[in-house]
């Protein structure tokens, strides 16, 4: 992992653990193992995709995605539901990620902010779609790393989209 925060005091073992976690995060989504994926997140987690570039306000501004653990679970139940007509033909997706970079370490809480570029191709309903942007993770280390937040900044977040069903 690339360390951008020069003041961060992190061990090689922590960097390795975080790298492993983020690898699993993408691969579990790529292989549609959603419950295992959700288990990587903390109880107070958030999945957030802004509707406009640089969006921080999630209360008085709409979001492309804004989900706590309950709503993430709801999405998983829906996409794995037998009557999800739109997914009847199946959905396959491949997320390819760039190098992970440790942007900052919160000196108070010890939370890590890690970001990496991604490209995702999704095949569904007889067509291919492409998404690109930045994943930003907030990780919390207790006994192990958990994901507190995954933020997905799509480069075309403010453009019209066809339905977005699976997690990016």
């Amino acid at each position: 992992m690339i360390v951008l925060d020069r003041k961060a005091r992190v061990s090689a073992a922590q960097l390795e653990a975080a790298e492993q976690l983020l690898y699993r995060e993408c691969e579990l989504l790529n292989t549609a193992r959603y419950d295992d994926w959700l288990a990587l997140f903390s109880l107070d987690c958030r999945y957030f995709a802004p509707l406009i570039p640089g969006q921080e306000d999630v209360e008085s501004h709409s979001s492309l995605f804004l989900e706590n653990r309950e709503l993430m679970r709801m999405r998983i139940r829906r996409v794995t539901h037998e009557a999800a007509h739109s997914l009847a033909g199946g959905v396959r997706a491949s997320r390819t990620v760039g190098p992970a970079a440790l942007r900052a370490v919160d000196s108070q809480r010890g939370d890590w902010t890690v970001e990496r570029r991604f490209h995702m191709t999704e095949r569904q309903g007889g067509r291919m779609r492409h998404f690109a942007g930045l994943f930003t993770y907030r990780l919390r280390f207790r006994e192990r790393f958990m994901i507190r937040e995954k933020r997905v900044d799509l480069i075309d977040c403010d453009a019209p989209h066809e339905p977005l069903e699976i997690f990016l």
Partner: protein, 419 residues
């Protein structure tokens, strides 16, 4: 030419798929009706603009320095380049990026570089109205602005066009003691792979939710782990009521294809007394009560807009092609109403109108299947379902297809094929 495609209780599938029908609709319906442009709060200051596409024409919805909104064709009078490139912004003058012809915010041509190159009576000249950007009439009803491309003398003014369907807009405005709304919280935009009519024909379709939305209903029912479901889950789960409940939802058809429907949930109640008193003072107790409790769901302003007053949502529909439709939605903030209402409405918009909505994909899939199913094969589409004993145009329920038949009565009027 289009006679015979739409009957009283069925239509030919080609009304959804034929490119010829689609381009005729652009001219006969979308260029002739009042099309929803936007809310005036989107362009508060002189020079503020938003782009819109109406009947396939690129428009600039802009506030002129006289304070009035204008709808200008976004097409340079020189060689036709699009002038405003961004979706929105502020411009005191509109300068074409190609050769620099410049227009005022009312469309007047104010500057041509190297004017000496032009001579002769029919040459481009600044100040000459025939070289201005075409400007179309804009009318607004309680700050909801609509445009009409064809200036047909017999055309009804906006208020008359909207008729009783205006009530949905009134209900939203009267949530504000000051009668003032503003768009806030961004625009959600979704592209549907279906004809625009497929979308409108679903607005009061009470037969589909339990069936189409089974996946999100199932997911939402499982969401309450410790008894109290999140608000989002209860919104999603409300599609899972028995059909008999949908049979309780009253649908009204208004002339011109407009319609509305009563909704399930009533989120009003426990209003803070200061707010309620302010509403009473502004509108009188009866109207204030209505504004808070009358729940019109998916009111349709045929054929370009839909409102959901309960959650202060306004939607604009833009047909992109015979098989593609853009639906944009905005949340309106009622000035003087509790902030908690607005925050709840943003959550509602995220849940129901975002492209990531758990509800929307199955609707979109049903629309897409209709579009696919009708492609290339001619045949009829049934709109026979009625409530027992209903008469044409009468109020029915969400289990009747009368509102679809009413939309086609308007369609035939516009398309000139009414027998």
């Amino acid at each position: 030419m289009f006679a015979g495609l739409a009957h009283e209780r069925s239509v030919d599938g080609r009304v959804y798929t034929s490119p010829e029908v689609f381009s005729a609709e652009r001219e006969r319906i979308f260029a002739r009706c009042w099309s929803y442009l936007g809310h005036l709060s989107e362009i508060p200051a002189a020079g503020d603009f938003q782009r819109a596409t109406v009947a396939g024409r690129p428009l600039i919805f802009i506030r002129h320095n006289d304070g009035q909104p204008r709808a200008l064709l976004n097409r340079c009078a020189h060689r036709g380049a699009e002038i405003a490139g961004q979706t929105c912004g502020n411009a005191q003058r509109l300068r074409c990026p190609y050769h620099g012809w410049t227009y005022a915010t009312d469309g007047a041509l104010t500057q041509i570089p190297r004017p000496a190159g032009y001579s002769g009576a029919d040459s481009p000249k600044t100040g000459d109205p025939s070289w201005a950007l075409p400007s179309y009439p804009v009318e607004s009803y309680r700050d909801f602005a609509f445009v009409r491309l064809q200036c047909d003398r017999s055309a009804a003014p906006l208020e008359e066009f909207l008729g009783e369907a205006r009530e949905a807009l009134d209900l939203m405005v009267e949530r504000s003691p000051a009668g003032k709304l503003s768009v806030a919280g961004g625009r959600l935009a979704i592209v549907l792979r279906c004809n625009w009519k497929v979308y409108l024909e679903n607005l009061h379709d009470g037969m589909h939710p339990p069936q189409v939305h089974a996946s999100s209903i199932g997911a939402a029912r499982n969401a309450s782990r410790n008894g109290k479901p999140p608000l989002e889950a209860s919104w999603v789960a409300s599609n899972g009521q028995p059909l008999s409940a949908f049979g309780q939802l009253a649908v009204r058809c208004h002339p011109g294809g407009h319609s509305d429907m009563s909704g399930f949930r009533n989120e009003a109640g426990g209003e803070d007394s200061g707010y309620r008193a302010a509403l009473d003072a502004a509108w009188g107790a009866r109207r204030a009560e209505q504004a808070l409790t009358r729940n019109l769901h998916n009111a349709c302003f045929y054929p370009t807009a839909s409102a959901h007053p309960q959650y202060m949502q306004m939607r604009r529909l833009t047909p992109l092609a015979a098989d593609r439709t853009l639906v944009e939605s905005w949340t309106l903030r009622a000035h003087g109403a509790p902030e908690s209402h607005f925050l709840r409405n943003i959550r509602y918009a995220n849940t129901i109108h975002s492209p990531s909505s758990l509800v929307k994909p199955d609707d979109a899939e049903a629309y897409r299947r209709v579009q696919q199913g009708l492609a290339g094969v001619s045949g009829h589409v049934s709109q026979h379902r009625a409530d027992p004993g209903e008469a044409p145009g009468s109020a029915g329920t969400a289990l009747s297809e009368e509102y679809v038949r009413a939309q086609y009565r308007a369609w035939r009027d516009y398309m000139g094929t009414r027998r």
